[in-house]
C-alpha cells in the first residue's frame, strides 16, 4: 500500500500518509426510497478498474480531496478538490 498519491496541496506522498474515505457516492434526498438509502449506506460498487474515491491527508495538510485510481494497479490517475 505504499503507492504514491498526489495530494493537491502537498504533492506526491506515500499512500500511508492518508486515510481512505470510500467511494464517491451521491447521497439520497430526504424522502427517497428505503432501497436507495440501503444501497447508499451498506453497499459498495467495489470497482475492479478506475474508481472515484475520497482521501484525507491525515499526516499532512488534513484536507479532503477526491482521486481517480485504478484499483487493479493502484495507479492514481488524477486528484482534485471537489466543487
Amino acid at each position: 500500500m505504499s503507492f504514491l498519491l498526489a495530494c493537491p496541496e502537498c504533492g506526491e506522498r506515500s499512500a500511508y500518509e492518508f486515510r481512505f474515505g470510500g467511494e464517491v457516492k451521491s447521497r439520497p434526498q430526504p424522502g427517497d426510497s428505503e432501497d436507495a438509502w440501503f444501497q447508499y449506506i451498506y453497499t459498495k460498487t467495489n470497482e475492479a478498474g478506475e474508481q472515484e474515491e475520497w482521501w484525507f491527508h491525515r499526516n499532512g495538510c488534513r484536507k479532503w480531496f477526491q482521486a481517480l485510481r485504478d484499483t487493479r494497479t493502484n495507479t492514481v490517475i488524477a486528484t482534485w478538490y471537489p466543487e
Binding site: 505504499s2 503507492f3 474515505g21 430526504p30 488534513r62 479532503w64 466543487e83
Partner: protein, 853 residues
C-alpha cells in the same frame, strides 16, 4: 584476536567471516537440519543457504558465512543437543517412515492426538532460540532517502549503471552488501553492508543496513526512487543426488571464496560435478592450492555421495571415487526476486537453464547477470525420487517427498510448495525452487514454463522485528499541566497517546485515594484536567446549518451565550460521538468532543464541508487550549477569587457560556455538569496552563480543593447515570437503545441518520441500556456477563461502588424484556451469578438541584 565458539577460543584473521574462521580451525559440521537433524556443512558461503546458521552474541539464526568475525564475539551452535558432532535428535532419521510429506495433515486428524503431540513438537521445532528476556537491548533506527536512481547491487554492472546515471546529473544511491566503505568516486551515495529485502509499490525499496554507526545494530532505510536499476547478479544452486547434503559437498562459489578470500584449502582430494569437459577453471583453482582433482563427472552420472558426518566418496556411473570434497558446479540462477515483486514476468530459457526476467515495468531496469545469467550450460534437472536426495535443505524436503506430493494430487507448483513447505524456509527458494519446478514439470508431463514459479514476496532475505520497529520512541501526548500532576502524586493511565492521571496517590490504597477525591467533589471542590478533550472552533454564516445537518439535535436555534449537549450519528443511526456545543456569538461556535474521537470528528465535519461551498471555517484547537473542570459546592467560591465574571445563578445560569479572564488569562467558561455538582469547565491558552492550574489550587486551598482523576470522574458521572460513548455504547448502539430518544429532532428537514433513525424510532427495541444496583460486596467488572435463565444475554458496561447509595451501581445492556423498573437480572461476578435490580432512576440527585446551586 579470538572469537569464542561454544566457549572455546578460535583465532581469526583479517577478512575472516565467523564461518571461515571456524572452518580454518577444523569445524566441518555447522548445524543440524530442521527435521532429520542431519549434519550440515558450508555449502554456499554467500548467505543464501541455511547451513551456517549459528547464534552470535545472543542473536539467533545469524548467517555466519557472511558475518565478519570480530574479536570477542561469542558464537554458539543451534539445533543440536548436546553438540553438533553428536545430536541425539538425529534419531529422527530412523522414524522418517512416520513423518512422510504432509505428516501433520495425515496423522493429526484427531484433535486430542494433536494437543498431545503439539507440546513435544514445539520443544524441538525451529532453529535458533530467541534471546532471554534479560538480554541487553539492541538499538535500531530508521532512515528515509529519496533518489533519482537507486541501484541494487554494487558489482561491476551496478557501479557502471550508477556512474552513468550520476554523470547525467541524477541523485544516485547504490545498495551493496559488502562491507567496503570507501568509494572510487563520490558521485553517488553508497549504502554498504546493506541488502534490499523488498521492492514495494511506488518504487519504494526496503533496505536493511547492518551497524550503520556505533551503538546501532541495524538501520531500516526506506528509499523512494524515481528509477530503479536491479543489478543483483546470479547465485549458484545445488545439484540433487542421494546424500547431496553431506558436509564437504560445496558449491563452486563456496570453494572459490574459501580459497581466494580466506586462504583456506577446503579438502585434499576433490571430485568436481560439472557439465564442462576438460580442465575447467575450478579444477585449476583446486590444483593451484594443492587439492588433487580425482575426477570431473557430469551431473547425470552421479549416483550418490557416501559418508556419515562428512563426505568420504562419490559413487558415479563412471566409477566410485574416494574424496573429501565434492565441488558442485550448480545452476546459475538470476537473483530476480525484486524484479518479480515489481511486476516483471519470469520466462524459462532452456538455453540459459534459468528463469530470466522480462516485461519489466516502466522505471525499472535490470543489468548484469540477473538478466540472463548464462555463465555455464544448464545441467539436467532430473532427479530420481529418493528419500535421501535433498531438494529443500531448509526443511529437509527430499525428491521422494516432492514426487509423493504430486502423486497425492498436489501437482500445481503453488500447492506443491505449501504442502511440502519447499521454498518456505530461510533460503526462500534460492537453493531449491528450480529443482522443485523441474521435478514437478517432469512428473506432471508439463513444460517448465507452464509449470511456472511461485510468487516472490518480501521480505527476502528476512528482516528482524527490531529493525522493522526502529527506534523505541512511541509518541506521548502530555497536557500543559502534566508535571504538576506528577508533583501531586498522579498515577498515570494511557488514553491513546495521552497520559492522564487515573488518580492521585493521597492515601494508603488506591481505593482510599479515589474516595478522597470523590468526597472532595461532592462536599467541597475538586478540579480535573480535561485538556485531552477534542476542541474545535467553527465560524461562519453557515455554521448553524452545518451543525443541524451533522448532529441529531438542533443548534441553529442555540442562543449566543448558551451550551447544549450534542450527539451525532452515522447514516445507519449509530451513535458516533457526543460532546458539548457552545455558541459564543452569532457565527462563532465551540465544539468539544470525547478524547478518543477528536481525530474522527475533525475528519467527519471536514468531509461534509468538502465541496459543499458553505461559509464555515474550522480550526482544531485541541492542542492550543488547556481545559479544566472545577466542580463542587465550593466551586463558585474558588472561581470568584480569580475572575470578575458574574457567577451567580442569575448572571451565569446552568448551561450558559461566557468569555472572561481567569487569573489574568483569557478563557471560555461553560457551566456544565458531567459529575453532577455546580461547576465550570474552563478553556484557556495552553501556554498559560501551569499558571492557571496553580492559581486554582492556591485559591482553592482554604476550601479544601482536591485534584481528581479519571477514576473518580467515572464514579461521579456514573452516579448521575451519564453515558460515556465508546464505554457504555458500541458500534451497534442507536440513541433509542441508549435511552437518548430526546436528542433526535425528527422535525429537522434533513440530518445525517434521519432516515435510519426514523425507522429505529418505531422499531421494537431488542436490547436496552439500563442502570442497576446490587449488593455492595459484589462489584462486577466492566464487561461482566448478564445472564437471563442461565444464558448469556448482555453485559455490564460500567460498575462501581457508589458511596451515595451505599450499593454497587452500574450500567448494562440487557434484552428489552428484562429492562423494566425493578426487574431482576443476574450478573456473573467472580464466576458465579449474582442478583441485581434494574433501575432507570438516576442514583444521585435525580432532580439536578446540586447542579444549580
Amino acid at each position: 584476536m579470538d572469537i569464542r565458539f561454544n566457549g572455546k577460543a578460535i583465532p581469526i584473521q583479517e577478512g575472516d567471516t565467523v564461518a571461515s574462521a571456524l572452518y580454518r580451525a577444523g569445524q566441518r559440521i555447522f548445524t543440524r537440519s530442521f527435521k532429520y537433524h542431519r549434519p550440515r556443512g558450508l555449502l554456499c558461503c554467500s548467505g543464501h543457504c541455511p547451513n551456517c546458521l549459528m547464534n552470535v552474541d545472543g542473536i539467533p539464526n545469524v548467517r555466519t558465512c557472511i558475518t565478519p568475525a570480530r574479536g570477542g564475539m561469542a558464537v554458539k551452535h543451534q539445533n543440536a543437543r548436546p553438540s553438533l558432532d553428536f545430536d541425539y535428535l538425529a534419531i529422527a532419521q530412523q522414524f522418517d517412515w512416520m513423518m512422510p510429506v504432509g505428516w501433520y495433515y495425515k496423522n493429526f486428524t484427531n484433535p486430542r492426538l494433536w494437543h498431545l503431540a503439539e507440546s513435544q513438537i514445539r520443544k524441538v521445532a525451529g532453529l535458533g532460540d530467541p534471546p532471554p528476556p534479560d538480554a541487553p537491548e539492541a538499538v535500531y533506527e530508521h532512515a528515509h532517502m529519496q533518489a533519482g536512481v537507486a541501484v541494487i547491487g554494487g558489482g561491476e554492472a551496478g557501479l557502471n549503471a550508477a556512474r552513468e546515471a550520476a554523470s547525467q546529473g541524477e541523485r544516485v544511491v547504490v545498495v551493496d552488501d559488502q562491507p567496503r566503505t570507501t568509494l572510487g568516486d563520490s558521485s553517488y551515495t553508497l549504502l554498504s553492508r546493506s541488502y534490499c529485502f523488498g521492492l514495494y509499490e511506488g518504487n519504494l525499496l526496503g533496505v536493511l543496513q547492518s551497524e550503520p554507526h556505533s551503538g546501532v545494530r541495524e538501520r531500516l532505510v526506506h528509499i523512494r526512487a524515481k528509477r530503479i536499476v536491479v543489478a543483483t547478479g546470479a547465485y549458484e544452486a545445488p545439484l540433487t543426488f542421494k546424500n547431496n547434503d553431506l558436509p564437504g559437498i560445496m558449491l563452486s562459489t563456496a570453494v572459490w571464496r574459501l580459497i581466494h578470500r580466506h586462504g583456506i584449502q577446503p579438502g585434499t582430494s576433490a571430485v568436481i560435478i560439472s557439465n564442462e569437459t576438460g580442465d575447467s577453471a575450478i579444477a585449476a583453482e583446486l590444483r593451484n592450492v594443492g587439492i588433487a582433482v580425482v575426477a570431473t563427472v557430469p551431473p547425470s552420472d552421479v549416483l550418490e555421495a557416501t559418508g556419515s558426518k562428512h563426505v568420504t566418496g562419490l559413487r558415479t556411473r563412471r566409477g566410485n571415487f574416494a574424496c573429501d570434497l565434492v565441488v558442485m558446479c550448480g545452476h546459475r540462477i538470476p537473483d530476480a526476486g525484486l524484479l518479480s515483486q515489481a511486476g516483471a514476468k519470469l520466462e524459462w530459457s532452456a538455453e540459459a537453464g534459468a528463469f530470466v526476467p522480462t516485461e519489466l515495468p516502466p522505471n525499472i531496469t535490470a543489468v548484469g547477470d540477473v538478466t540472463h545469467a548464462l555463465v555455464r550450460a544448464a545441467s539436467t534437472l532430473v532427479s530420481m525420487p529418493n528419500k535421501r536426495t535433498f531438494v529443500c535443505f531448509c526443511n529437509d524436503v527430499t525428491s521422494q517427498d516432492i514426487c509423493d506430493s504430486i502423486a497425492e494430487g498436489f501437482d500445481h507448483i503453488e500447492l506443491l510448495k505449501r504442502y511440502t513447505t519447499t521454498t518456505m524456509g530461510p533460503c526462500q527458494g534460492r537453493m531449491c525452487q528450480l529443482q522443485a519446478i523441474g521435478i514437478c514439470a517432469r512428473e506432471t508431463g508439463r513444460e517448465i514454463q507452464e509449470t511456472g514459479v511461485t510468487t516472490s514476496r518480501p521480505p527476502n532475505p528476512g528482516v528482524t522485528l527490531g529493525a522493522l520497529g526502529g527506534a523505541r520512541h512511541h509518541p506521548i501526548r502530555r497536557t500543559p499541566m502534566h508535571y504538576q500532576h506528577e508533583e501531586l502524586g498522579a498515577v498515570w493511565m494511557d488514553m491513546g497517546d495521552w497520559k492522564r492521571p487515573r488518580y492521585y496517590k493521597s492515601a494508603q490504597t488506591e481505593r482510599e485515594s479515589i474516595l478522597r477525591e470523590y468526597n472532595a467533589v461532592r462536599q467541597a471542590v475538586g478540579v480535573i484536567d480535561v485538556s485531552t478533550l477534542g476542541k474545535l472552533s467553527l465560524k461562519g454564516r453557515d455554521t448553524g446549518k452545518l451543525l443541524d445537518k451533522v448532529y441529531t439535535n438542533r443548534f441553529s436555534d442555540l442562543k449566543p451565550g448558551r451550551v447544549r449537549y450534542a450527539v451525532l450519528c452515522d447514516e445507519a443511526g449509530i451513535i458516533l460521538d457526543d460532546g458539548t456545543i457552545s455558541r459564543k456569538d452569532e457565527d462563532d461556535f465551540f465544539i468539544t468532543t470525547t478524547t478518543g474521537n477528536l481525530e474522527f470528528m475533525e475528519q467527519w465535519l471536514e468531509w461534509w464541508l468538502a465541496g459543499a461551498g458553505w461559509d464555515v471555517q474550522t480550526s482544531n484547537l485541541t492542542s492550543a487550549l488547556a481545559a479544566v473542570n472545577l466542580a463542587g459546592p465550593k466551586a463558585r467560591d474558588v472561581l470568584s477569587a480569580l475572575t470578575n465574571c458574574g457567577l451567580s445563578n442569575a448572571e451565569f445560569p446552568y448551561m450558559a457560556c461566557r468569555n472572561a479572564e481567569v487569573a489574568g488569562v483569557p478563557a471560555l467558561l461553560m457551566r456544565i455538569g458531567f459529575v453532577g455538582e455546580t461547576g465550570w469547565e474552563i478553556h484557556y491558552p495552553a501556554e498559560s496552563g501551569e499558571h492557571l492550574w496553580s492559581a486554582l489550587m492556591d485559591a482553592g486551598r482554604p476550601f479544601g480543593i482536591c485534584p481528581f482523576g479519571v477514576e473518580a470522574q467515572r464514579l461521579l458521572r456514573l452516579e448521575k447515570r451519564h453515558v460515556i460513548v465508546g464505554v457504555d455504547t458500541d458500534a451497534l448502539t442507536s440513541p433509542y437503545e441508549a435511552g437518548m430518544a430526546w436528542v433526535v429532532k425528527h422535525d429537522k428537514d434533513d440530518f445525517i441518520g434521519k432516515f435510519a433513525l426514523g425507522k429505529l424510532a418505531s422499531a421494537p427495541a431488542q436490547q436496552s441500556l439500563v442502570g442497576f444496583t446490587m449488593n455492595a460486596n459484589e462489584i462486577p467488572e466492566d464487561g461482566a456477563a448478564i445472564l437471563v435463565n442461565g444464558a448469556l444475554a448482555g453485559r455490564v458496561t460500567s460498575a462501581r461502588y457508589s458511596p451515595a447509595v451505599e450499593k454497587a451501581i452500574g450500567l448494562a445492556w440487557v434484552p428489552a424484556g428484562a429492562a423494566a423498573e425493578g426487574a431482576q437480572i443476574e450478573i456473573r461476578v467472580a464466576g458465579a451469578p449474582v442478583r441485581a435490580t434494574v433501575t432507570q432512576r438516576v442514583f444521585y440527585d435525580p432532580d439536578g438541584a446540586r447542579l444549580r446551586m
